[in-house]
Symmetry: C2
Subunit: 430 residues, 2 copies
């Protein structure tokens, strides 16, 4: 069969990777597809800045040269960002071209619109690389676990913050030092907000929740809290108590509906996600038939991301060869209530600086008790100046009640400072 | 669209699970497929022994009632064993019915024949449940990692032996005690040979290697060694040296070709597979683009296996809805040399009982040296009766040389006993 022509939008890290992978493994990819895949055109903003990658593709600076080329069947959008990526994808879909993307921003915000365009044009719209880099997770959720009701998706989906937390844990480095190192290594951007603020993870869990639960979850539905307040002290106390601190992206589906959030959490060291370190990502999925599963690998980088993008290209090419399309598009069939983070429940770790005098502990316990927060354990740790550091572990309690209790505590004269309040996940405190 | 009728061959553990899953999640499955899936007929040997599962399906005892029923589009073979499962599947494929199976024996031995029949009849042949129970691994290898040259697949793919080794490690239980307990719990058969001898794992790695490397690997190509010789002493020494002992199913593809084997191995405790405990399975895959990935979950059981079988059924049903088939069949396009285990290289752990007298260590070191086996470390451990237990760790060495060295040692009068010889995987001993 004649070659299948594709175009890449963008030729940065991921685009370069896709060209390399398609070139290096051309032989086996052609066997799998039944036809060669040829990169015909590559859209770049500035052709002079094109990376050092050998390609026979025509370099173009106008999207129209791709949109109006009837030979191009598949468009791989690898430029990132919302604009103009979304417009280009929509235009390509409407023009009857299959679209593959690694763009979590656009998928998390405009997934529905893109799916609808793909459906009307009878083309494929695939985005395996948008979550977890090279880790197979979108297709496994849509196909391999299709027989399940998924009740929980819990992921370490941001490599930068996982690298930072791992360094803090293993090398006792301070947050600021580890951030500076991550920036020097190129793992963190000069403005690290998207990573350390949890916003990158929020986009990814919105996508995973939508697919896992079959109900549209958008970025606005995700409660988001970053790792900027995590200190070495918290990490040390976690270790003493048998936990590690991870930035978790969590989506749960229970009787009350769906809850989706990103925040640092205490995770038991025995949990499969606890051993996921450095820039590695992993997604833990619980289904009513399959039980607990986990998908692990590199969540970013040139070649891992290219692995996922190229897999999508191969899948579309197989569809083209078999004259089929839109086999699996949007799977959000359900309207499910999304409930707010205040209604979620978990045990909590609380670190307080309190005055060192009689009756303080009773007063604090009383303030918690007034909001139905039961304390599992109170560890009176060390003197900090004239104060005492208290580390508390609560039983399972609603986020609302913890918030009310913390408000009361902040108003108490014996409480000098709230060090941190961190959720405990996947543990029975009893 | 009208319902898609399927038939189950066998209604034991997995068949019961499939009926339950199709029933419980009928609503979402219908949405995903675009048509309801109905179990029309179930083949059983003895209808009186039918398990306590509610089904409207017609129970039949003759396969012909399924084969000759034109309404039945998909046959799910869940009886296990080679005969008559293979013949039934072949007949169904030839009759133009799609086939889904959980049968590792038949896939590992007769995969080619079944694929050819599926291809001639333009139908699907899927077998996600044949390896790793509910863990998505076949489809991820065939699709999500299709852009990669896979260089290594390393799995814990037998839950029984992983449960036993975990118990031995964590509870210091003796091999025979833990086997008796596993049998009592139903994790091990009364004749445990298939599990503890590594033969179950061998079938699974033959399947994974074929798909991962795109070259046919059959059961006969797999070197197989079980866990029957593993003792608590070995497990304790492993721990001291920073390792755990796991029964690994390993397939490697390098310049020399393919090597496939199942054997117990020392694995560094930091390796992702080292934390896979109890009946859990996991498959670690290395590709040139994706890097290291891992797939984790329950490798057996009614509902996990049913999750994988039902996913395959859903996939075929989606194909039927879209009037496509055989989209992805056999992917073994390559002829690759399979080299024997004797040519593989790794460090080795060796435990010996030797006479307690001067010059013994020099004699032993000399015997190893004569076969180019360099010793990394020698730990002289404890007195056992009138002997000394020596624990040795070698540098990387060929299996052939280790065998020759061990033969020499067995002939030496100062060597009372060879306690064990175990490969070290995924570690640089330097």
């Amino acid at each position: 069969m004649s070659a299948i022509s594709i175009a890449l939008l963008g030729c940065g890290t991921v685009g370069t990777g896709v060209i390399k992978v398609l070139e290096k493994n051309a032989h086996s990819i052609e066997k799998k597809v039944g036809a060669p895949i040829v990169v015909k055109k590559v859209l770049v903003r500035n052709p002079d800045k094109l990376r050092n990658v050998a390609t026979n593709a025509t370099i173009v600076t106008s999207f129209d040269e791709i949109l109006n080329d009837p030979e191009i069947k598949i468009v791989a959008e690898l430029m990132g960002g919302e604009t103009p990526a979304k417009d280009y994808m929509l235009a390509a879909l409407k023009a009857g071209k299959h679209v593959v993307t690694a763009n979590k921003d656009v998928v998390a915000k405009h997934g529905r619109e893109l799916f609808e365009a793909a459906e009307s044009s009878h083309v494929d719209f695939l985005f395996e690389a948008s979550v977890g880099g090279g880790i197979p997770i979108i297709r496994p959720l849509k196909q391999c676990l299709a027989a399940n009701q998924i009740s929980e998706i819990m992921g370490i989906v941001n490599g930068t913050t996982n690298y930072m937390l791992t360094k803090m844990t293993n090398e006792h480095m301070d947050y600021n030092d580890v951030l500076a190192e991550a920036q020097a290594k190129g793992y963190a951007e000069s403005d690290p907000t998207a990573d350390v603020g949890g916003f990158d993870a929020a986009r990814k869990i919105a996508i995973l929740a939508s697919i896992g639960f079959g109900a549209r979850v958008t970025l606005d539905d995700v409660y988001t809290e970053g790792i900027t307040n995590i200190t070495i002290e918290d990490i040390e106390y976690a270790r003493e108590l048998g936990f590690v601190i991870k930035l978790l992206a969590i989506a749960k589906h229970d009787d009350r509906g769906i809850n989706v959030r990103v925040h640092p959490a205490f995770l038991p060291c025995t949990h499969p996600l606890a051993a996921v370190n450095d820039v590695f990502n992993a997604i833990f999925v619980k289904g009513d038939a399959v039980g607990e599963t986990m998908f692990y690998g590199r969540g970013a980088g040139e070649l891992p991301t290219a692995s996922a993008v190229t897999a999508d290209i191969i899948d579309v090419a197989r569809d083209i060869r078999h004259n089929v399309s839109s086999r699996i598009l949007c799977t959000c069939f359900e309207q499910t209530h999304i409930y707010p983070v205040t209604k979620t429940e978990s045990p909590y770790y609380i670190r307080l600086l309190v005055e060192d005098k009689p009756g303080v502990l009773a007063a604090i316990a009383g303030a918690f008790g007034a909001q139905q927060v039961s304390l599992h354990s109170v560890i009176q740790k060390r003197k900090v100046e004239h104060c005492t550091e208290l580390v508390l572990l609560t039983y399972r309690v609603s986020n609302e009640n913890i918030r009310l209790a913390m408000n009361t505590l902040l108003g108490m004269s014996v409480v000098s400072k709230v060090g941190n309040v961190i959720r405990v996940e996947a543990a029975q405190i009893s």
